[in-house]
Symmetry: C2
Subunit: 339 residues, 2 copies
DNA sequence: ATCGCGATTGACGACGTTGTCATAAAAAAT
DNA sequence: ATTTTTTATGACAACGTCGTCAATCGCGAT
């Protein structure tokens, strides 16, 4: 591997002068500069980050720790967002996923430590409460798409499920819906709690009562091996004579099942029943006809802003608020009609 | 940051002895070993990879270059597969995505070079032909989910679209279907070509003629902003008096639209029409009722095996075949009936 | 007691880079 | 013309680790 010394020899200068050129320091004579640059190009010299790191103790590197990458289809966008920020700001990114294995997580922290990573983005693939286990390692950390439990006061960035659910509910109310069905997410998901809570609050504020809503549990059980009651629940809701005019689904995947159920019963969407989802999984929300009105999870922005927060943390800034929220934008498509 | 010298001082030995302990070299006295290990634990010492790298010139590091992470929902599983292999084999992974930007790609190659990454996994999010642009940088590379164009003879690993499509078609034929509809992927996708080709070949081998099949274009246009004709095409196919008894869809997202179209026409699946997809996007294939019979893209395995191939490449092995194929496993669910 | 041999340990340098300081050359000020 | 300042350059050390080689120690064999 060609080193700074090879370049120096070729350009007939000292290694330090080459270093100056590489780091764009001032006070290098134009002629020298040119000779050195020529040598660099001709030898294909690329500086050795490891050596640089040893001297400066600054790796310009972030690490990403994820749990499962694949439970939620588009959550990889978080990583893309982090990447893009990093790229735009001269940082490189290590990636490690733990598959939820605690030993592996601890090992990952040590590996990151050994690479002298400057900050960690701890990313979960669905919104939840988590306590990272860095063991004895101490690296500045931002939680993305999750919030810290009790153990340590981490900084975090999360989607605003409350606002998203509120907006969806209000949207239906504005369209005149007064009898509304609701199919709940697996209660083990943080989003289940938040979305349901916001739904109930918004319904109450609008003056509707318990009789006006029809709430069913769509899923339960351990993540990855849950029981799925959505299709059956949707049918039950829809075969009632005084069925709701709209159904709010815990997420888009559930909404899809409600579509299938409604169409199977010969109901027209949105004329006879309106449907909204949550998450904006585009393989679903764009593929169903009419396309699905939903609240988009801001995956990409979570990553991008999370990385930005981490940088600010490293600069010693005190982040306020400690737990930032990013809005879940309401995406109006064709699945909601007026009553 | 605590270094090997701090440990040495605390344990009352030389730095070299600590090094021996850290690297599990033999010939260290039991007492010494214990003292050193105690010091390591008490100081929380973690070896500095950068320093190690400088000495040994071996970074034990892979880099991943991806194009877009998010066009295809579960393709992130490729990265997960790579990760898992890396983790099991003592390697750490850098990640960079280029968003399809060529300048960024070239910059990424240099960045990787500067970190003295030992090998690159060049990953595309959908199956296609590509020419990586490493500029002058030379790092051993394996292409994952893509095949090299003309420029350089890269090693690759790809899904076997031909086999998957053949299996799906045969499956329908075995179930007695003799009139089959086919909705094509965007022709710009490599999978479109391969899957369609295998379909036609299999149909021909079975002795069916052109009149027995009904082929429509589902999508075209630039990736990410395509025109979508699937829903309309599905309706056209299904309203014919002598409509096909089964429809093969370019992928699961298209299959979903065919579901919606069929159900909207009051047709029962699979009694009146059978449907198969491709890819096994689980948000779709598990959510539709009946669940979707499809061919699963082996994303995770592509990553895992790709990493393995890269390792073998680094060890100097000559890989045969140069372009490995991984099968697209037929997943039988409920969307196909017998005729 | 002497020798031989393996086990155990440390001194030292090198890896590629950059910070510090010194020196030399050129430009500006006197 | 001399002094001061600025610009340009290099020598050297240091970062943390490990390879090399030499030194010391213990212990059984002679």
């Amino acid at each position: 591997m060609v080193s700074i010394k090879d370049v120096a020899r070729m350009a007939g200068v000292s290694d330090k002068t080459v270093s100056r050129v590489v780091n764009k320091e001032p006070n290098v004579h134009a002629d020298t500069l040119q000779r050195v640059e020529a040598a660099i190009a001709s030898l294909g010299y690329v500086p050795n980050m490891a050596a640089r790191l040893i001297r400066s103790n600054r790796s310009r590197t972030f690490g990403i720790i994820t749990d499962f990458i694949s439970t939620t289809p588009y959550s990889g966008d978080i990583v893309r967002g982090i990447q893009d920020w990093a790229n735009a700001n001269g940082r490189t990114v290590f990636l490690a996923n733990t598959n939820g294995n605690l030993d592996r997580e601890r090992e990952t922290w040590r590996t990151f430590q050994s690479h002298r990573i400057e900050g960690v983005l701890y990313v979960t693939m669905y919104h939840r409460v988590i306590d990272p286990e860095p063991d004895e390692v101490e690296i500045p950390t931002v939680l993305v798409n999750c919030r810290p439990g009790s153990k340590k006061p981490y900084v975090s960035i999360e989607p605003d499920d409350l606002q998203g659910s509120r907006d969806l509910t209000r949207h239906l109310l504005e369209k005149g819906h007064r009898r509304i069905g609701y199919i709940r997410l697996n209660p083990r998901l943080l989003g289940a709690e938040l979305r349901y809570e916001a739904f109930r609050g918004t319904i109450r504020d609008a003056g509707l009562s318990e009789k006006d809503i029809d709430v069913r549990l769509g899923m339960d059980g351990a993540i990855g091996e849950e029981n799925n009651y959505v299709f059956a629940a949707a049918r039950e809701i829809l075969i009632q004579p005084d069925r709701p005019t709209a159904i709010i689904c815990g997420n888009d995947e559930m909404a899809l099942q409600v579509y299938i159920a409604a169409l199977g019963l010969g109901l027209s969407i949105p004329n006879e029943v309106s449907i909204v989802g949550f998450d904006d999984f585009r393989t679903v929300s764009h593929a169903v006809k009419p396309e699905l009105t939903t609240a988009a999870l801001p995956y990409y922005d979570l990553g991008y802003c999370g990385a930005e927060r981490l940088e600010r943390l490293l600069e010693g800034e005190v982040l306020e608020p400690k737990h930032a929220m990013l809005p879940c934008r309401l995406v109006e498509r064709g699945s909601v009609g007026s009553v």
